[in-house]
């Protein structure tokens, strides 16, 4: 697990170096973005949000590149879902990631865009709850924490309205890609998320 932390810290440190190197004539935040998204994991019935801050790295005629950080949170309520009664519990996870966003703008107006955003970071998955079934003389409690390296790619499609770039996206974790499928994607530690995002450009020069 420490290996995961070290890897993530190296990525994040490198990211800070990249973004610092871009600061010359423009202010640091010029054309940077802040993003807020709502997310849904249909396979595990959890809802959540993501918040991102991204610094523009380059902007060509068709392509825009950003690097930044993302925070992600998901919550799954288990209370009285699988059982009619007797269970009180939840699972949640919190993640911090480095993100690298590559957008491709279409048409002359360059307002319509698609994007791919690889991410890598650390996620902490927590479970907590109790089970009480008096008919069976059962009383159980369960708590668990699992911290792991998380990586994957976000794919998005959106449209630019002034300084805003609303988009819809899905997140595909890539666990399993390098182990012949041993790890099945779609579990609680490899969530497939769909979501809607509002992105805002700070100090836009375009």
């Amino acid at each position: 697990m420490y290996k995961n932390y070290i890897l993530t810290i190296l990525f994040l440190t490198g990211l800070i170096g990249i973004t610092k190197g871009q600061t010359t004539e423009k202010e640091f935040w010029t054309n940077s973005r802040i993003e807020l998204s709502g997310t849904y994991d249909a396979l595990n019935h959890s809802v959540g949000f993501m918040a991102k801050g991204k610094k523009e790295l380059f902007n060509t005629r068709k392509f825009r590149g950003f690097a930044g950080f993302a925070l992600q949170y998901s919550y799954q309520n288990e209370t009285d879902k699988a059982l009619n009664q007797g269970l009180i519990g939840y699972n949640n996870d919190f993640g911090i990631y480095a993100v690298f966003d590559l957008e491709h703008a279409y048409f002359k107006s360059k307002k319509f865009f698609t994007g791919l955003e690889p991410f890598i970071g650390v996620t902490v998955l927590n479970s907590n709850g109790t089970l009480n079934l008096p008919d069976y003389e059962i009383s159980e409690q369960y708590t668990n924490t699992y911290t792991y390296l998380n990586y994957g790619v976000t794919s998005k499609i959106g449209y630019k309205f002034g300084g805003f770039q609303p988009n819809i996206f899905f997140v595909v974790p890539l666990k399993g890609l390098f182990d012949k499928g041993r790890n099945r994607v779609g579990g609680m530690d490899s969530r497939i998320l769909v979501g809607a995002c509002v992105s805002y450009t700070l100090k836009s020069t375009r």
């Binding site: 799954q76 288990e78 879902k81 699988a82 059982l83 009619n84 007797g86 269970l87 519990g89 939840y90 699972n91 998955l125 479970s127 907590n128 709850g129 109790t130 089970l131 079934l133 008919d135 069976y136 059962i138 159980e140 409690q141 369960y142 668990n144 699992y146 792991y148 499928g181 041993r182 790890n183 099945r184 779609g186 579990g187 609680m188 530690d189 490899s190």
Partner: protein
Amino acid sequence: MNAQKICIPFFEAYHTIYLLDGDGYFNELSHIILDEYPDEIVLVGIGYDGENKRHSDFTYPEDDLLPHSGNANLYIQHLIKELIPFVEDSLLIQTTQRTLAGHSLGGYFGLYLLFQEEFTNPFDNIISASPSLFWHDAFLLGLEDQFNSSNDSLSVNLYITMGDSEGVTMNTLFNALNNKIKSRNYKDLIFDHERFENTTHNNNSIKSFRKGISRL
């Protein structure tokens, strides 16, 4: 039912493993078995030719959670009257011991087969990975109570597993069933249970089958 063409010496006897959800797990588990037990085990993956009916075949009783569920008794009859005779009498595979391995609803089915009293359990070993013990409001806990009220022995080698990251419902029910079984002191029962660290529901299947087979 699909049967792959196989070539095995008739004069040998084998440990035969019946794997539920063969569509999803046969390929991966067969590689493990070929690597680790090439001359000892015959693996029978049970899958579906067309529509997957695991929600119907592996469950009892019927529950609104999944449509057309609750036909586990028919599936038990299929195993006892058709599949096992086909493997042992038609394919002429001599069997030293039979194991049933299932995951999730398949894991539930293995436990249901064990504690229902309408049909005799034809398996010597049951590997129940991540059993869906929540089915029909934890019906299986009541079934085990009922079984215990009229039986003091349980002739099987039972191995139940859970991933620690499968959530509260799965893990608390896992604890509850294990504690119940341990408290019974059934005669003839060999019982072991294990919670795998850093393991989610989907990733507990092959891990459990592999470990379960290694301890038989």
